[in-house]
Amino acid sequence: MSRLSDLLADGTRPVVTAEFPSIDGGGMAAVERAVAELLPYVDAVNATDNPAAHAHASNTAIAIAMKQHGLEPIMQVVCRDKNRLAMQADIIGAALFGVENVAILTGDDVTAGDEPEARRVFDLDSIQMVKVASGLAEGHYLSGRAIKEPPTLFVSAVENPFAPPLEYRIERALKKAEAGARMLQLQIGYYPERLENFVRGCVDAGVTQTTAIIPTVVLTKTGRALSFMDDSVPGISIPQTTIDRVAGAGDKEAVAEASYQVTLELAQHALSLPGVSGIHLTDFRHDGSLPRLVEDLKIGPSQHKEQHAHRPELV
């Protein structure tokens, strides 16, 4: 199985995942720069699939490039842009290059992006696609057509414990686990009590027996960034007290520090919850805060040198 799934199954330390930056131009050098920035600090990284409905270098291309540069990819597959044939082909194609981790998402609507005129596809929903992807690893396409020597796949999904209907989110997590998701990365959230209820519910419902739960925190620098997420990203809500605490901290440096502290506290709280297997880091700062965060949290490969020895060198 993939390095990520082995690490989760091992369970000796929390895993650290992150988001690969969107790549457009710059050739492979652009990929290499991003790999070098992340490789020492994280266990696996999401190769995003047209995030926020903006076109970028594809999920498959980035996942393969990451793999070739020694960084463990989690290939995101969103249901918005492609039908069932294309999504299956992408997963099977990337698997030829050793991409084993796939994360299935519904995807932001096309209206969230810069090409709102695009046709939305949503041929399958994310739970259906989780089951279809699991079927590929079992040796058949959705049609039932057999795949000789099927690829090894570690299928995962996402969930948002912070958006209504709150109670139903646990049942949806269970449904995803039953469809074959072995890891759930969670949406960015600023309500620790909602996360706590969700994780406790997942433990009680048996979700965590099969499926690792990975909450997400985001590194931001300003109060304005928090206000933007609160106002403009559907599914993300931030308490006004949190925004005020950051925005009112003082000068630019004090604001950035307050913002970092908010992220650190959320991450510490998330990692303290029984049933949580790691943390997902989204970095909007790119100022060295990510290495600082993993050091403060004492997590990830850079804090566990014995794991590091098994990692391939950056080519």
Partner: protein
């Protein structure tokens, strides 16, 4: 008569549920809320974009179809069945049934037929004689190929 059934069904279901004639109705297991009215046509629960007030990500003025479905599934009208069925895993939409009558498809079982890979079965290998590649080898006169075949 059979041509009139879908029209009759649409006349009844459009004003009440904004029916989209997917031909495989699941209203009874989604709290009588049509999942095809979700802009993402999600049949297995809400996406992560539901707004703090329960509004839809795409159409903020509309309450999320699944927020409604979850609420209505507890309705006293038929709580046992609606609550139990809300969490059923619904198979991929069969796009071939679009525009046909779900009442007829319910009767014939066409609305419950899922691809064999959905139920975990592996289909028997295709007869190699029947594949187009094999057939091509046997065609000497390529002008016999259907129009557009070369593109």
């Amino acid at each position: 008569m059979h041509r009139l059934i879908p029209i009759f069904e649409h006349v009844v279901k459009k004003p009440v549920w904004d029916c989209r004639m997917c031909g495989q109705c699941v209203l009874h297991s989604t709290g009588m809320t049509c999942p095809m009215t979700c802009p993402k046509t999600l049949r297995n629960g809400p996406c992560g974009g539901v707004r703090e007030d329960g509004g839809c990500e795409v159409k903020p003025e509309m309450t999320c179809v699944w927020v409604k479905a979850e609420r209505r599934s507890h309705s006293p009208v038929n709580p046992k069945r609606w609550e139990a069925e809300l969490n059923h895993l619904r198979p991929p939409v069969n796009n071939q049934l679009k525009g046909t009558s779900s009442w007829v498809n319910l009767m014939t079982g066409a609305d419950r037929r899922a691809p064999s890979g959905w139920t975990g079965e592996t289909a028997p290998a295709e007869d190699p004689e029947a594949t187009i590649g094999t057939a091509l080898v046997e065609i000497d006169d390529t002008t016999l190929l259907p129009e557009g075949f070369h593109s």
